[in-house]
Symmetry: C2
Subunit: 401 residues, 2 copies
């Protein structure tokens, strides 16, 4: 075999699926700066700046805040592998793919998992959470997904935080699809371990997983009787590399860290509150447009960052996604698990959450649904895009807060 593949030229896309989201040019450019050594003084300074910005976005003072060298799921595994020892009891709320994944990961590290199984798309009620906390008072951890990417639902965190913090349990939260698009208040919610990915609301390419651990989580790690059954994600080793010692562990994904640094700079230039408001406003506008076409949201408490709607009866949903991608260059996500073939997931994350993208996806979707002879609701009147535009201009201050 002697042929060499041609240079890669990706098609032009608008990323409105469940992640990755569109990456700003300045982030791509920052990533392409020349690679330096992973112990270079310049790189060590960069790591410190990334840590400081991650602390701000997580709303935490946790010293142990850093980017794990893998994608979001590596962040999940880092949190669980370092806190679970064989035989530990762990409560996990399972309301979608990522809750189920937390359970799977915890079991691989030897946990006895008490799963709170709730229907996909629903959120955990106060009573149910309290019931599990009361039933398993010796559990070491309580794990939940803040923003479930597979269903588009988000959990009421304040209420849950009060409940869990009244126990001795470690509170572990998946913020993969919320961090950078919705508030994640690690210290206020008394979260002990929280992880995210770079490729969702931070609008950075995938490849790093921001994580943060409380002092209580560190104490639990320090009190381990067994070595972490995962060398690559062993926080006792990763910590030493991110600490003043800079002890060699792995070779960091250097250029990815350049990208994350720039992506975080973009976040703070916009401002956190402005960013959350934008995500909220754009979600309301997209929602108005989708509902004008008669599309219904699956979760009652929808994320602002991901919109999970039911596919109208009789529609070939795969064909719609394929045509959106091939004709318009717009990527949206399919349903997973029980929603396979039943749902679309439309992401409005980070840079992808824009008025332009909303108008484009609504216009394209409306055309493709008309092609498939979908009947729109009587009296919907104007087009989906017009409904979105109208909502955008009418969003009230109350709706944004």
């Amino acid at each position: 075999m002697s042929t060499i593949p041609a240079p890669f030229q990706p098609a032009q896309r608008i990323l409105m699926g469940p992640g990755p989201s569109d990456v700003p040019n300045r982030v791509l450019r920052a990533m392409a700066a020349p690679t330096v050594g992973h112990l270079d003084p310049d790189y060590l300074r960069l790591m410190d700046e990334v840590r400081t910005m991650l602390q701000r976005i997580f709303h935490t003072d946790n010293a142990l805040t850093l980017a794990v060298p893998g994608t979001g799921s590596a962040g999940m595994e880092a949190c669980i592998a370092n806190l679970v020892e064989p035989g530990d009891e762990v409560i996990v709320c399972v309301a979608g793919v990522f809750g189920a994944r937390m359970k799977d990961v915890a079991e691989r590290y030897g946990a006895r998992v008490h799963a709170i199984e709730i229907p996909w798309g629903e959120t955990l009620s106060y009573e149910m959470a309290k019931g599990y906390l009361d039933s398993y008072p010796t559990a070491k951890m309580f794990c939940i997904v803040h923003a479930e990417t597979s269903t588009g639902a988000h959990q009421p965190m304040e209420e849950l935080a009060r409940l869990v913090s009244a126990s001795e349990m470690l509170f572990v939260v998946d913020a993969v699809t919320s961090l950078g698009g919705m508030e994640v208040r690690v210290d206020d919610w008394k979260i002990d371990a929280c992880y995210s990915g770079t490729q969702k609301c931070l609008s950075c390419p995938p490849g790093l997983a921001p994580v943060t651990f409380s002092a209580k989580a560190i104490a639990a790690m320090d009190a381990r009787k067994t070595k972490v059954a995962n060398w690559y994600l062993d926080m006792s080793l990763i910590r030493n590399y991110w600490s003043a010692d800079r002890a060699y562990h792995h070779t960091a994904p250097i250029n990815m860290t350049y990208a994350l640094h720039e992506a975080l700079r973009v976040v703070f230039e916009e401002g956190l509150l402005e960013r959350f408001s934008r995500h909220r406003r754009n979600h309301l506008a997209l929602r108005a447009g989708l509902e004008a076409m008669g599309l219904n949201y699956i979760p009652e408490r929808s994320l602002y960052t991901l919109n999970c709607v039911r596919v109208p009866a009789g529609v070939n949903e795969a064909r719609v996604r394929k045509e959106l991608l091939e004709r318009y260059g717009i990527e949206i996500g399919a349903g997973l698990g029980p929603f396979k073939g039943q749902a679309w997931r439309i992401g409005l994350m980070g840079a992808s959450s824009s008025e332009r993208n909303i108008l484009m996806v609504l216009t394209a979707l409306e055309g493709l649904l008309r092609d498939q002879n979908v009947k729109f609701p009587e009296g919907a009147g104007a087009s989906a895009a017009a409904a979105a535009l109208k909502k955008m201009s009418l969003v009230s201050f109350d709706e944004l807060s």
Copy 2:
């Protein structure tokens, strides 16, 4: 806290340490192409092309050849975690940091490790290897580092391959510092699992770990009685994503894969044999220059890609490295473990292996050593750089083969 860090502008560096190596501009540019979805048809085609090129560089037909979403050590962990089950006996040759790491990782997954401890910088003898193979005939795996980054030594693989393949054991080889700079013949050497990193002789930023598994290794994975105790690196899941199914596992480090694709294109445009010859010739030239200054190599069988030399008596080695970095922008590596403070490790990997870099590092080093009043050997005559240049022009065909 309201200040935002300034944009990151790394200093200009020449990377001649133990990795990362210099990344060609075209690889950095390829990496900065717009991010597409991890299930985008364009991206799936890219993955296939990466696989094909990895097969060629590993000299293998193994279908299960891919890039694990983490740095080189994640490749090590992927190989070991998927092949070891609790209680398995494993033979590991420990002759430096990375052999010791293989032992540590195998133990974390419950292996009973029989370590062949040999002095750092030495290579495993035929007799010693045979002794261990005979003493532990029930061992499941034989693990060795082809190119030990901490000592600069490389193992005689053909001989060892014949020995191990005469047993039933799985042969696991670390090729982090050799792949792309020296021959790694997975099929000829009957290797069952082999891993590498992108940031050494492939001259791509760190963040991915090429791995390949033989049919025998896959059979061993399929025969596991226990789930792999590592979700992120579970090859049964990663395989499905890289297979025709494209089953969602993790969000791939998309832009890193763009970079690896271009870095592999660079390798094949040069040609594998031409590339290995270049690494060999440049190693001999650097060696001539270093020896002209009286610097001695620590390992008897030195890698072409990494040159580990003893620091002359009385020299402040840290100061030399610091001045090389600060004045000349040249990074070289320090000694690790027993060689801490005793050795320098000078990398000639991928794009960093060039005549220009050799002349620059030798000239700079000679000046800095003269500053510290190092006496050079009598009769060395011309400068270190001149010795290197002379060697470069005189390298014989025999020396290159």
